[in-house]
């Protein structure tokens, strides 16, 4: 099992604001009110518990034990109240993505195979609250399990939704007659952005410092130190190509409730000319180890087709970080 090493989260960054904090506070309080003292004790942490706040992963909890209460330990009513928090905090597409990723875990679990035991949409998904829900004081809602991490920190009207991890194994599957593709929006937009480049641009965007088989700023990489920027400057792109970059960023930022997501996208857009896009290994949407990166003054997005343990296909890992505002560090107490 891996252990998380605590890192100081105070990086004094900035948030674009626009958070629906009051609605989230209400939903969190309603969720907490459904719990008895024993369960509340499992859910609630001090806001300053940095080590616990940094405990998220793309491994099942059997490999990296999570903080908070497991969803399967909650009654149906309590689960609903927990889901309601996420529905308020996230956009409809963000909440849907969570549901789809959790279903993918059920699917993966049903496929069996190595490393596929002991998780599912309720088992291995954990909910934790850091600090007291308040419209004026900082608090954080943490939800996630295998292939999903939501770290939502509120402080007044400011919000941080990073680190945010989404992944899916398998990438596509049938459920009740319909095809579910939890991370399709991100995959389509990222590969679309790459496909929009001409041959010269694509060559210039290639990352040459090394190669990748997974994320470099994934779980446990909270030092605030990011790799030296590489790739093609977005300022050298056409207006249409820039739109593809914004669209790709939007598939991550847009998981958050709309007003805050709009403000944050506007911020990243204003930094667009200083942002680089890069790729490594392969550029095909189904090729193994295709790796794509968006690297701006604030925004950091990585997407990789990493290999699968349980199926012959690749599966997705993707992380979104805000270099200046991970874990809501913009307003430290």
């Amino acid at each position: 099992m891996q252990e998380v090493t605590e890192v100081n989260l105070n990086t004094d960054g900035a948030s674009a604001g626009g958070a629906n904090t009051a609605a989230v506070v209400k939903a969190v309080k309603e969720f907490l009110a459904t719990l008895d003292d024993t369960k509340r004790d499992k859910v609630e942490y001090d806001f300053s518990d940095n080590k616990a706040r940094q405990t998220w992963s793309n491994f099942p909890a059997t490999t990296v034990p999570r903080e908070g209460i497991e969803m399967s330990d909650l009654t149906t009513a309590q689960q609903k109240a927990a889901d309601a928090v996420l529905q308020v905090a996230l956009s409809p597409s963000g909440a849907q993505e969570d549901a789809d990723i959790r279903e993918a875990d059920n699917k993966l679990n049903s496929l069996g195979g190595q490393g596929a035991d002991g998780f599912g949409s309720l088992k291995d998904y954990y909910f934790a609250v850091y600090g007291t829900p308040s419209t004026t004081q900082p608090f954080m809602v943490q939800f996630g399990g295998h292939h999903l991490a939501r770290n939502l920190t509120y402080n007044g009207d400011k919000v941080s939704q990073t680190p945010q991890f989404v992944g899916s194994e398998p990438t596509s599957f049938k459920s009740g007659g319909t095809t579910v593709e939890p991370v399709k929006a991100e995959s389509t937009a990222m590969f679309g952005m790459l496909a929009g480049l001409d041959a010269t641009q694509k060559k210039a965007a290639e990352i040459t410092s090394g190669t990748f088989d997974d994320l470099v700023m994934g779980p446990g990489k909270d030092s605030g130190v990011f790799p030296t920027s590489e790739g093609l400057l977005v300022s050298e792109l056409t207006a249409a190509q820039k739109k593809l970059v914004i669209a790709a960023i939007r598939t991550y930022v847009g998981d958050l409730a709309s007003t805050a997501a709009d403000k944050l996208t506007a911020k990243y857009e204003s930094e667009l000319d200083k942002t680089r896009i890069g790729w490594s290994n392969n550029a095909g949407p189904t090729d193994e180890n295709s790796y794509i990166r968006i690297d701006g003054p604030s925004v950091w997005i990585e997407f990789i087709n990493t290999r699968s343990q349980s199926t012959p296909d690749i599966h997705y890992h993707s992380v979104y970080r805000d270099k200046t505002n991970d874990y809501g560090s913009s307003t430290p107490k």
């Binding site: 008895d36 003292d37 190669t211 130190v225 790799p227």
Partner: protein, 446 residues
């Protein structure tokens, strides 16, 4: 994978019905049962404990270090497909062991490995061997590693290693350590694209930390688990008494009273150890709600038993039976402990030790007062009051845990009680002392 041989516990051959046993015989029989249970438990742990403690997440390199007084030996396990990406060569399990290629790879690993004192003094580093081993379904190239300090005495050092990760930037290297005399590896850290150097504590402080953490968790669980404490108290209440025609009567035999306490505590320990081990090893599991409800029921039943004997002299059996339930509850908690596969046994033992220590502390705190009280005229009333409190609290828990009640209004009562354990024990001691010192309340010795 090797499976350690084990000798099944010896069972005495059954030779028909025994004549009625004397007290010594009964005691011997119980001790025999106990030993058999413990032996069976040990056997289960021995055969199921994974002998390979170094399973690691897919695609990572593992460095396993063994500390000896004069040198650190170990192995480096490199996933061959990742090695191929890093070197941009089409390596396979077959090609890596071709002598020329193997020599080249050995030099490659050596040039990416070094060890030094904290002040920078270099150790000598040797990389040798080179065989292919299938670990968790993936072919790894395994080299032997020897790190020798210039002084000839192993102490804390810094390990620097960046094979594969110098080019495959997303690669991770798990460094694990087995201190001298220990039988399990503990992860000391992860090397990645940012960090190529790690401090290695030669003493392996983390293994002891793991065990100590488990003990601590066991202590905390009992000390903070109002339900487990209450259950124990309910069972201890009638310990100084004898069941006679469906009623509790006084028993002044101090030796016998103490023995009954030992029986209760041991029976509970045996019961929960069995289910805890089975659940921790993944053989059994039960829904939390059911387990928690059964625990509430266990308090309720033992509370009633403290009022009027349900099973004469049956505390040990009640304790053992419900101990099985409590073990299931402990197991969920054990899951929260960071137990590597290799440290499962140590974790289980530590956790159990913590539970037993806390139980013994509870007994030590309460039993003298109870024994003293039992020789006063207030004991029947005191016993009934405590039993009644237990029954009410247990009933409230049961209602809540079976969802008859949405919220338990009595939770703050039990929380307050366990928040001040010494106050509770002190109050009981004061009542006992007063009862004993007021001559009219003291019962005559028989």
């Amino acid at each position: 994978m090797t499976v350690r041989a084990f000798t099944p516990p010896l069972a005495a051959p059954r030779t028909g019905r025994h004549p009625r046993r004397g007290p010594l015989g009964r005691w011997a029989a119980r001790a025999g049962t106990l030993l058999t249970c413990l032996a069976a438990l040990t056997a289960i742990l021995t055969i199921t404990a994974p002998t390979r403690a170094n399973a690691h997440p897919l695609s990572t390199t593992a460095i396993l270090l063994d500390v000896a007084p004069e040198q650190v030996t170990g192995t480096v396990e490199l996933p061959i497909d990742r090695l191929a990406i890093a070197l941009d060569e089409p390596l396979t399990a077959k090609t890596v062991v071709q002598p020329a290629r193997l020599e080249e790879l050995r030099r490659y690993v050596l040039s990416h490995t070094s060890a030094a004192d904290p002040d920078g003094t270099r150790w000598t580093t040797t990389v040798s061997g080179g065989r292919v081993e299938n670990i968790d379904g993936v072919d790894h190239l395994v080299f032997s590693l020897v790190l020798r300090p210039p002084t000839g005495t192993v102490h804390d050092f810094r390990l620097t290693y960046d094979a594969i990760v110098h080019h495959l930037l997303s690669h991770q290297i798990l460094v694990s350590l087995r201190p001298d005399g220990s039988d399990g590896y503990t992860t000391v850290g992860v090397l990645d694209w940012q960090q190529h150097t790690i401090s290695v504590p030669a003493a392996g402080a983390s293994t002891e930390h793991g065990f100590a953490a488990a003990v601590h968790l066991g202590i905390r669980h009992i000390a903070e688990g109002a339900d487990h404490l209450l259950f124990l108290i309910m069972l201890l209440l009638p310990a100084p008494l004898l069941a006679r025609r469906g009623r509790w009567v006084r028993a002044d035999d101090l030796r016998r009273n103490c023995l009954r306490v030992v029986h209760v505590v041991t029976a509970f320990a045996v019961g929960h150890s069995i289910t805890l081990a089975l659940a921790a090893l993944g053989y059994i599991s039960a829904p939390t709600r059911v387990v928690e409800s059964l625990i509430a029921l266990s308090i309720l039943v033992s509370g009633i038993h403290a009022l009027r004997p349900l099973v004469p002299g049956g505390e040990a059996w009640i304790a053992a039976g419900f101990g099985l339930m409590h073990g299931l509850a402990f197991a969920t908690l054990l899951g929260g402990l960071d137990l590597g596969r290799g440290s499962l046994v140590a974790g289980l033992l530590g956790f159990n030790l913590g539970i037993e220590l806390t139980q013994l502390m509870v007994v030590a705190l309460l039993m003298p007062s109870l024994l003293l009280l039992s020789r006063t005229r207030i004991y029947p009333a005191a016993r009934r009051t405590v039993a009644a409190i237990g029954i009410v609290l247990a009933a409230a828990w049961l209602a809540e845990r079976t969802t008859l009640l949405p919220n338990n209004p009595l939770n703050h009562v039990s929380d307050a009680l366990i928040a001040h354990p010494f106050l509770v024990a002190g109050a009981l001691a004061a009542v006992a002392a007063v009862g004993w010192s007021v001559p009219g309340l003291r019962t005559a010795r028989t």
